[in-house]
């Protein structure tokens, strides 16, 4: 019995110093990994929201450009204010009623588009809020030219600007 209960040299376990060193090293590594994970997740979310807003800005610019090219005449009005304007597109200069609109809605701060302001078939184009949605038109001679300046705000508060210029070709 005495032989069986005698502790073996290889089974002596860990000393307090060894356990402490391992715990300190483990804690440092885990803290570093957790910190890195949180930082990289924040960076990833930040970059993703920025990219989404950039794509949305490009989408709005592209849609406005294509619509203006397909129109015969365009008119910009400062509705609801000079920072957020409305663009009405007409099939021809003599057409009394616009067939398409781009506008900013004060209710949700989003850029909307559709055949009528707030009517059926109209809705927000993108999900990023617009700080600025301005148009300027010129038709000194020849076709009407439309300049759009848009500033969208990302979910984390950064801004993305885009501008486009197009001429009515119909």
């Amino acid at each position: 019995m005495a032989t069986l209960t005698r502790p073996l040299r290889t089974e002596r376990g860990l000393s307090l110093t060894e356990v402490t060193v391992v715990m300190i090293l483990g804690t440092m590594i885990m803290a570093g990994l957790v910190g890195f994970y949180l930082a990289s997740q924040g960076l990833w979310l930040d970059a993703s929201t920025q990219v989404i807003t950039q794509r949305e800005a490009s989408l709005v610019a592209s849609a406005v450009r294509d619509s203006v090219r397909n129109a015969g005449w365009a008119r910009a009005t400062s509705v609801p204010d000079s920072l957020h304007e409305q663009l009405a597109l007409y099939k021809s200069r003599t057409d009394p009623v616009p067939y398409y609109y781009f506008w900013w809605s004060g209710g949700d701060s989003l850029v909307h588009a559709g055949p009528s302001v707030g009517g059926a078939g109209s809705g927000p184009m993108v999900l990023s809020r617009a700080d600025r949605f301005q148009f300027s038109t010129s038709a000194a001679s020849g076709p009407v030219a439309v300049r759009m300046d848009l500033r969208l705000r990302t979910a984390n508060g950064a801004t993305v600007e885009v501008g486009t210029f197009a001429t009515c070709r119909n």
Partner: protein, 132 residues
Amino acid sequence: MLNERGFSLMEALTGATISVIAVLGLAYSFGVGRGLVNRYEVARAALGEAQSQLESLRLLRPGDPTLAFGYVSPPTPFRYEGATLGNSNWRVLAYDEPSLPGTRNLKRVVVTVRWQQDARTDSVSLERLWRP
């Protein structure tokens, strides 16, 4: 037994060092990715500027001297978010379309936007063929 003695301090430190290097490499790649997002934000704006410039040239008369073969326009400022980041200009080159008679049968109008960001010079070019 010898193979059950666990890790020595040196082995643990070596493993930790390798892990830290791997994590730092990963962190660097995240930082580079974020930098690319910022870089292409300006590139998108520059592309919009080039498209607008090319579109505005459509308003010129065909015989306008600024659309003559060999013309190089003076640079105009390229602004983004209130800051001037660079400039843009266009040049008109001759283009030979084999199916058309002559050798200078089309105008190749190239709009180039150049900008400086974080000590790096970038540019984007957009071109369109025009009938003279």
